[in-house]
């Protein structure tokens, strides 16, 4: 690639930024760099040509930049989110966390811009490998373990995706990443779809998300809630619109995520489960596949990134200041962290789809599209999930953290940069609700629909109002307890124990037995063979090569006398040897 093309790609800025961060920290410019990089990228995405960065590699044509309206709306919100995340994380001194976040964003932008499956796969894996550090940097035993599980699940998903890509190449000798027709989809395409679905956290391959996100660092979770699942929504919207399986699974997701959000105790786990629910709307919209539904999926992705990040920021502030995120340990914080409360409530009403917030103008698009497509059951499931959303995230979460019983936890309000990050996200939530055309203009297809009709308003007023009544009546029954709930990760977390038992007991025993047999029978045989070989080496080869082997042995004896046992001598010796080898190679 030409150098100007490299700098056209917004991911380049984040990768360079990640490399420069530790140096910038030395000269006290880390904070400046954290702001400059996302701003540069945000500027750059508005000046991209329709296609760039096409290069040939081992007979494949790689396209690093393919830009259209679908790409643009995601690039816009991804870079905006990177800026908000950077501001929110300004107080974090560790460069490593910021580097992981930047590389993660780069992976996400690269995937979004990729025009072929190979490029997509490279950035796809970069995302997984960079984001796991956002979990590990929490540095607790549970985070380390959760990070490994996260990495294993994503590696498995990546392999399925790669298998699909290889099969597809074998079938049609083309790796261009374009829309796949519903009728002509083959095994290869379904494997690719499963790989994408894993990152979109579609049940039953969703458990990595509520497992890992609550264990991430405060800032890490804010990034993670935005990028992995929404990049997956983008690739699904690009490749698989109109697949009915996605519409059905998406509708199931919406209710599934809400179910766990109602019963869980850890605030960040509630929000993580609720991502499953919200991404369900988008997957469903992609699956319905009509112009309005795909528009709705994109609009919802845009709006969702902002309010879900806002919620993670609000709850993250509480975790940062109090060290607690479990509802059963919190309560009565409104006196101490009122601004975090205010911002979290804005996120809560936006996600619930209150009029004049971003949720109202995006969620309803998908629900209406389901209705227009005569998928009534799906439409009702999405509406039910909207009820559960307000119940779990709009009411339960803020109520038990900031009101409820006084837990005795005293805390200061969070840092100014955290509040600024929350303010920007909260502003966008309201701004999009008041000026929906700002978002609608960015969508892939022209929008002729208006959210603010009297019937739609009436429907929303009733749904939200009477959900509030339900909460009011049942609030004692919803009281949080220090418990957690099983999910399908049980199969691999408990399954791993069974595997370890099988590995240590029956297999270990068999291994010992075989080892014993080998020692008694094989060892003697090997000895005899090696004796024969060494005789051949020593006498046979030497006879051919005129005594060089014996010469090497004598040289080795000489070298042994040079060994001093000091590491710096070895390094120096290795360097000298390397220089000699290089000189010889160059001279020859």
């Amino acid at each position: 690639m030409m150098s100007n093309t490299i700098f056209m790609h917004p991911a380049t800025y984040f990768i360079i930024g990640a490399i420069l961060l530790p140096f910038a920290k030395r000269i006290k410019l880390q904070k400046a760099l954290l702001l400059i990089i996302p701003l540069l990228a945000f500027y750059q995405i508005h000046h991209l040509p329709a296609s760039f960065g096409v290069c040939h590699f081992m007979g494949f044509e790689l396209t690093f930049g393919r830009v259209d309206k679908l790409t643009n709306v995601f690039l816009h919100v991804f870079t905006l989110m990177a800026l908000i995340g950077s501001i929110y994380g300004l107080h974090v001194k560790e460069s490593g966390q910021h580097m992981a976040a930047f590389l993660y964003v780069a992976g996400s932008l690269g995937t979004t811009l990729a025009g072929d499956y190979l490029t997509l796969f490279i950035f796809w894996e970069l995302m997984a490998f960079a984001s796991v550090f956002l979990v590990w940097y929490r540095k607790r035993k549970r985070s380390i373990e959760a990070g490994y599980r996260y990495l294993l699940v994503h590696t498995a998903g990546g392999l399925i995706l790669l298998g699909g890509i290889f099969l597809r190449y074998q079938n049609i000798h083309d790796l261009t990443f374009t829309r796949i027709a519903v009728d002509g989809a083959t095994m290869a395409d379904y494997l690719i779809m499963i790989g994408f679905m894993l990152n979109a956290a579609v049940p039953p391959i969703h458990a990595w998300l509520p497992d890992a996100y609550p264990e991430a660092t405060v800032v890490g979770a804010v990034y993670m809630c935005a990028f992995t699942t929404k990049t997956a929504v983008y690739v699904l919207a690009r490749g698989f619109p109109g697949f009915t399986a996605l519409a059905i699974l998406g509708a199931i997701m919406t209710v599934y995520g809400v179910a766990y959000a109602v019963i869980e105790n850890d605030a960040r786990r509630i929000l993580a489960y609720h991502i499953v629910s919200q991404v369900g709307y988008m997957v469903c919209g992609v699956g319905i596949g009509t112009v309005m539904a795909v528009n709705g999926a994109c609009a919802h992705a845009y709006a969702h990134i902002l309010y879900k990040a806002l919620l993670f920021m609000g709850v993250g502030s509480v975790l940062e200041m109090t060290g607690k995120s479990k509802l059963s340990e919190l309560g009565g914080l409104y006196k101490y962290m009122p601004w975090s409360l205010a911002f979290t409530v804005i996120g809560g009403i936006a996600i619930s789809g209150f009029p004049l917030t971003s949720g109202f103008i995006s969620k309803s698009m998908i629900i209406t599209a389901a209705g227009l497509d005569h998928r009534i059951f799906i439409m009702l499931m999405l509406s039910l999930a909207a009820v559960g959303t307000f119940l779990s995230v709009g009411l339960k979460l803020p109520y038990f953290i900031w009101f409820g019983k006084d837990s005795g936890v005293r805390a200061k309000e969070s840092y100014w940069n955290m509040q600024l990050g929350m303010f920007i996200a909260a502003f966008m939530c309201i701004f999009l609700g008041v000026c929906p055309d700002f978002l609608y203009r960015m969508l892939p297809y022209p929008v002729t629909w208006h959210p603010y009709t009297s019937y739609h308003l009436s429907e929303t007023f009733q749904l939200l109002g009477f959900t509030g009544l339900g909460f009011y009546l049942m609030v004692n029954y919803l009281k949080p307890a220090a418990k957690s709930n099983l999910d399908v990760d049980w199969f691999y977390r408990k399954g791993a124990l069974v595997f370890m038992w099988v590995a240590s007991k029956p297999i270990g025993k068999a291994n010992d037995w075989i080892g014993e047999v080998y020692r008694t029978v094989g060892y003697r045989f090997t000895l005899a063979v090696s004796k024969a070989m060494s005789w051949f080496d020593w006498e046979g080869i030497d006879w051919v090569l005129d005594g060089s082997a014996k010469g090497v042995v004598r040289g080795g004896d000489g070298l042994r006398k040079l060994q001093s046992g000091k590491i710096q001598h070895y390094i120096g010796g290795a360097a000298v040897a390397l220089c000699i080898v290089l000189i010889i190679i160059v001279l020859i």
Partner: protein, 82 residues
């Protein structure tokens, strides 16, 4: 300042409760006047349909999901560490 506002609202929760009930009544009245051009299914033409959907959906979800958690899913926080 904003903390005092929240405290004030909390101290006057009785008033808030009646404001909330008044709002619920308003939503039902509003539904009589909403235009119903684009009914997607029978529920859209029933006045107060979403009221019933909201309240029964909410109560139903709490009972079903809490119940599922109670009889099956709930475990101690250290379940996987044991």
């Amino acid at each position: 300042m904003i903390a005092q506002l929240f405290g004030y609202l909390r101290d006057h929760s009785i008033v808030l409760k009646w404001v909330f009930f008044a709002y619920l009544a308003f939503t039902l009245v509003f539904d009589f006047f909403a235009e119903r051009h684009h009914a997607h299914f029978w529920g859209d033409s029933v006045i107060g349909f979403w009221t019933l959907f909201g309240i029964f959906g909410c109560l139903g979800m709490i009972v079903v999901f809490k119940g599922l958690s109670h009889v099956w899913l709930v475990k101690g926080e250290d379940y996987y560490d044991e």
